[in-house]
Every structure is written in C-alpha cells, then in structure tokens.
C-alpha cells in the first residue's frame, strides 16, 4: 500500500466542518467511491471534524489517498485539546459531555472499515479512520 497523495485541512471553527465534507466528498468521487460509500465517509468525517473543533478546540485533518492492492482514503483528525479521559465510555452511544446526541465517535466507527483513537490527557486526541473502496 502506498500513499498516493496527502493534503491537510485546518480545523478552526464551525464553517470548517462544511469545508471538510466538501473536500472529502471530492477526493472520494475522484477515487471512484460509490455514492453510498462517499456518503458514509463524508458523514463520519463531519462527526469527527465537529468533535475536533467543539471538544478539542480545533486542529487539523490530514487526508491520504491510498492505493496499491486496494484503493482507500485515510483521514487523520488531530487536536491539541484536553484529551478524552475514558475512551471506552466516549465510544458508547448516547454518551456526551456536550449537547450532542453522543453518536459522533461510535457512529463514525460504524461508517468506516478501520478506526483508531489515541488520546492523552492534556495533550490531545488523534482519530484515524480508513474506508476502502
């Protein structure tokens, strides 16, 4: 597997969530993802971008186009926020410290093929998702 292209989208405030959706959609279209697969990845990206901005105080998204035996897209969301003290709890549906539905993390995980989250208290959170074509 090789990374064919990489780009970075800054996440600062709420309109950036819309920018992330647009850009992820464009990349997924370019790589020939089906409409359902595009929609799943864009929806997961929207949830994670919002988490990054609202709970993590913003950061950046790195978009990687993967090719080789399989074609895919990997999205890495990184923030320098307070971190998540209990990841298992945060992954659970219905859990939220904010005003959301608490579906962001668990929901995003169900919409992609690979999901990884690393969080350190006081240092920030990194969420990596991959969806294969």
């Amino acid at each position: 597997m090789t990374i064919a292209a990489t780009e970075v989208v800054a996440l600062t405030n709420e309109p950036d969530i819309v920018a992330v959706r647009r850009r992820v959609r464009e990349v997924a279209q370019k790589l020939g993802f089906s409409l359902v697969d595009q929609t799943k990845l864009v929806t997961a990206a929207s949830e994670l971008a919002r988490n990054n901005i609202i709970y993590g105080g913003g950061g950046a998204l790195q978009i990687e186009e993967l090719n080789g035996a399989r074609t895919g897209i990997r999205l890495k969301f990184e923030d320098k926020g307070p971190g998540i003290p209990d990841i298992d709890l945060a992954m659970r549906d219905g859990f939220t410290t904010g005003s959301g539905l608490g579906l962001g993390l668990g929901g995003a995980k169900r919409l992609v093929h690979e999901f990884d989250i690393v969080s350190k208290s006081g240092e920030g959170t990194k969420v990596t998702i991959t969806r294969w074509k």
């Binding site: 709420e14 309109p15 969530i17 819309v18 959706r21 647009r22 959609r25 409409l35 359902v36 595009q38 929609t39 799943k40 864009v42 929806t43 929207s46 949830e47 919002r50 549906d93 959301g100 539905l101 579906l103 962001g104 668990g106 929901g107 169900r110 919409l111």
Partner: protein
C-alpha cells in the same frame, strides 16, 4: 446572515433545504420555524431535504427538535425526499429520528400532513 426561507401555503409551512447545512444555519432554522409555527398557527411543516447530500447527527438532531417543538405547538412535521444513500448512512450511524414522519416526495408529504396518512402505496411517483 444566511437564512433558509420558510414558505407559507395555506395551513402549512414549507421549507426546502438547498444549501450545505452548517451547524449555525441549522440552529437558525430551528428557531425561525418554531417562531413561524407560532405566528401563523400552522397545522404542519413540510421539510424537503432532497438536496441534502448528507445528514449527520447534528442535522438529525435539528430535524428531531423541529418535530418535537412543532408537536408541542400542535403541528405535524413531515420530512420528505431523503436520498437513499443518506438513509442507508443514517441507519448505520445509529441515528434515531424520533417523532419524525417521512415521505418519499413533496406530494406524498402533503398528503400525509392533510390526512395523517399517505395514499402512495406502490411505485414511486415522480418528484
């Protein structure tokens, strides 16, 4: 400020979401609609989301809130025109849309608002 227009047609309010729904716009629509239901004594609200390419948990919550608020104000809410890819994604996301009635298109949605049921059974009428 950007706003989504709310049209009045008889006893009903019609909203067509044609822009990329950012979070603040969703909250504005929620407030505007609640006010409009109150001012016009509308009996129902029809929200056309056929142009929406994605519904995430935030937009889903807005739709659920609108339905809940309009119910308290004695109006029904019907969401119409959800794209199939959006519906598939919503189910996998695990998003419950409590209290939201849906219809395939505006015609079926208006029927549902007027009679409380849809007469469309077989086939998919053109939009």
């Amino acid at each position: 400020m950007e706003k989504i227009p709310i049209l009045r047609m008889g006893d009903y309010l019609l909203v067509t979401i044609q822009v990329d729904m950012h979070d603040r716009l969703a909250l504005t629509l929620q407030d505007d609609l609640t006010r409009a239901i109150n001012e016009t004594s509308a009996k129902g609200v029809l929200i056309d989301i056929s142009s929406l390419e994605m519904v995430d948990s935030f937009i889903g919550r807005m739709l659920a809130n609108i339905a809940a608020m309009s119910r308290v104000l004695d109006a029904r809410t019907v969401v119409v025109g959800m794209q199939p890819a959006v519906a598939i994604t919503l189910v996998e996301l695990g998003l419950p849309l409590p209290g939201i009635r849906t219809a395939l298109n505006v015609d079926a949605g208006m029927e549902l608002l007027r009679n409380g049921k849809s007469n469309f059974k077989f086939g998919r009428p053109s939009r």
